[in-house]
């Protein structure tokens, strides 16, 4: 009788493995909840601060998005504060798109060389070099931009040298490693038998690369480019050092202009929490955050589309 009870208890009791299972689940769930809380907290905080410009300072959303004058401390002839963010929004998009346009051919070219043409040399030389580029801090890029790119731009194209062109040059180098390594991953993911079948049909190596491998890897390559764009859009320090930070509509690639991030970094220390000037900067931060979410969504969409094929 006693032994059956003992046996029953032993069987009904949670085993050590089961306890470990629960413990593991708890730990990973806590980690997840913590991260979710942080993300929700950040989004909530930026949103609440950013929306205050429109709710408590009564700035028209459309004026904010389409206005061309950025002087939050000053009111215009109608008594409304001048908080037109269009120059910064345009600047951010221009610099992002241009640097992605310049970086993409180089990145895909490098990735093709690394994966298809000369995998040995690629693994030995190019891989470490691109990884090294990732590790360089952005302030170093900015400093090189300020002391090399800006004077060169000034000598070649006139003006002060500060502007979208210099920013594009710096960002091009900054996003190149990201786009390259992700492109290389995308190419690596193309099944080997695609190449074998193409070569068996009599295609040359180059024909195989651009008719088969690149086509098959297109979704992955697009993800790589969008990732690079997301990084370019959010980069603050290096861009701020070379773009000139003038809240003007860019009328040429060598005229000083500004991005959302550069205005944020220069302005945030000189405004008072809760004032319109400060809230307007938070609104810029909100725009920045929303755009990053959009970039993430695009990456998701591309990924989903790629899987269906």
């Amino acid at each position: 009788m006693k032994s059956t009870q003992q046996l029953e208890r032993q069987l009904k009791r949670r085993s050590k493995a089961a306890k470990l299972e629960i413990w593991g689940r708890m730990v990973s769930l806590t980690a997840l909840l913590l991260i979710v809380a942080v993300v929700v907290g950040i989004i909530g905080f930026v949103a609440s601060k950013g929306i205050a410009t429109f709710t408590s300072n009564h700035v028209n959303l459309w004026d904010f998005l389409s206005g061309k004058n950025w002087n939050p401390g000053i009111t215009d002839a109608h008594g409304k504060p001048e908080v037109g963010a269009l120059p910064m929004i345009v600047g951010s998009f221009l610099i992002t798109i241009l640097s992605a346009l310049v970086a993409t051919p180089f990145a895909i070219g490098t990735a093709v060389f690394m994966n298809e043409i000369s995998p040995n040399k690629g693994a030995k030389i190019l891989q470490p070099v691109t990884e090294l580029l990732v590790g360089i801090p952005s302030v170093v890029y900015g400093f090189i931009g300020l002391s090399v790119v800006v004077p060169t731009t000034r000598a070649l194209f006139g003006g002060s040298g500060f502007g979208i062109l210099s920013g594009t040059c710096v960002l091009f180098v900054m996003i190149l490693p990201t786009v390259t390594s992700m492109s290389a991953d995308a190419l690596r993911a193309v099944p080997r038998y695609y190449r074998e079948a193409s070569l068996a049909l009599g295609a040359t190596q180059w024909q195989t690369i651009y008719k088969v491998v690149l086509r098959a890897a297109t979704p992955g390559l697009m993800t790589a480019v969008v990732f690079g764009m997301a990084r370019a859009f959010g980069e603050a320090l290096a861009v701020q050092m070379v773009i000139g930070n003038a809240a003007l509509m860019p009328n040429s690639l060598v005229s000083p202009s500004s991005t959302l991030t550069s205005v944020l970094t220069t302005g945030i220390g000189n405004t008072v929490m809760g004032s319109l000037q400060n809230n307007a900067l938070w609104s810029l931060a909100l725009v920045l955050l929303l755009m990053s979410l959009v970039f993430n969504l695009i990456i998701r969409l591309i990924g989903r589309k790629g899987r269906l094929q």
Binding site: P72, I74, G244, L248, G267, I268, G269, S275
Partner: protein, 293 residues
Amino acid sequence: MSKKRWVQGLVLVVLVALGVFAYQTRQVSHAGESITAVGSTALQPLVEAAGEQYTSEHLGTFINVQGGGTGTGLSQIQEGAVQIGDSDLFAAEQKGIRAAELVDHRVAVVGITPIINKRVGIKNLSTHQLIQVFTGQVTNWKQIGGADLPIVLINRAQGSGTRATFEQFGLMKHRSKTAQEQDSSGMVRSIVATTPGAISYVAFSYVDKTVQDVSLNHVAPTEDNVITNKWPIWSYEHLYTKGQPTGLTKAFIAYVQSPAIQKTLVRQLGYLSPDQMLVERNAAGHITKTGGA
């Protein structure tokens, strides 16, 4: 199994150690022997140096000095988050600040001068010309007697104390045209030094051989001219407290204002002492003559 135990034990020990450390530091910071000063980057070197001297003379005290800008300093002191707010401006000049709650302690005077790139070849400007340059009415230096170079304006960030002072007393309250903005004086100087046709403005202590300082109406930007207000572009450096200071805050501010610091550190770092001034200026910009010290 024993390895896993060992790792778990290590994690536990680290967590406990961190907890103890945090608790200990919390205790210290509540002991009233530590204060924090936040704000103006123009004033930061002085407060830092004075803080170091003070803590080495008064063991057991700690003065934590941070930058962040005039706006940060004033908003943090208004919220009571720190003990001292460093500012280049009168609190009444900064939007969103309830100046009546704050007590002003002037610790230094800073002269600000326009600087231009050396290739421009101009050493004197009239106030009218300076306004024309910064409002964009002239766009090439040859229009006002300089070299044939386009004018490149470089501003400090909006809300910067240096910029506010320069616009009020240098441009006679005219607003500068929207142009490049930089967030530090060192950056401004290096850009003016390397960009042909560039003009900006910095505190006297930032002027060096790489840039040309400019006389205004044939008055040179020197300390002697600031003292008598013949050079009008200068501002006080303020330490603000919320209400009257007490304890270490009071002692430290008195220390910074004492002759020991005012006659040595303040001048070594390129500031003027408020005691030297033969005039006094109030928040509205009104000048009164005083005897001076």
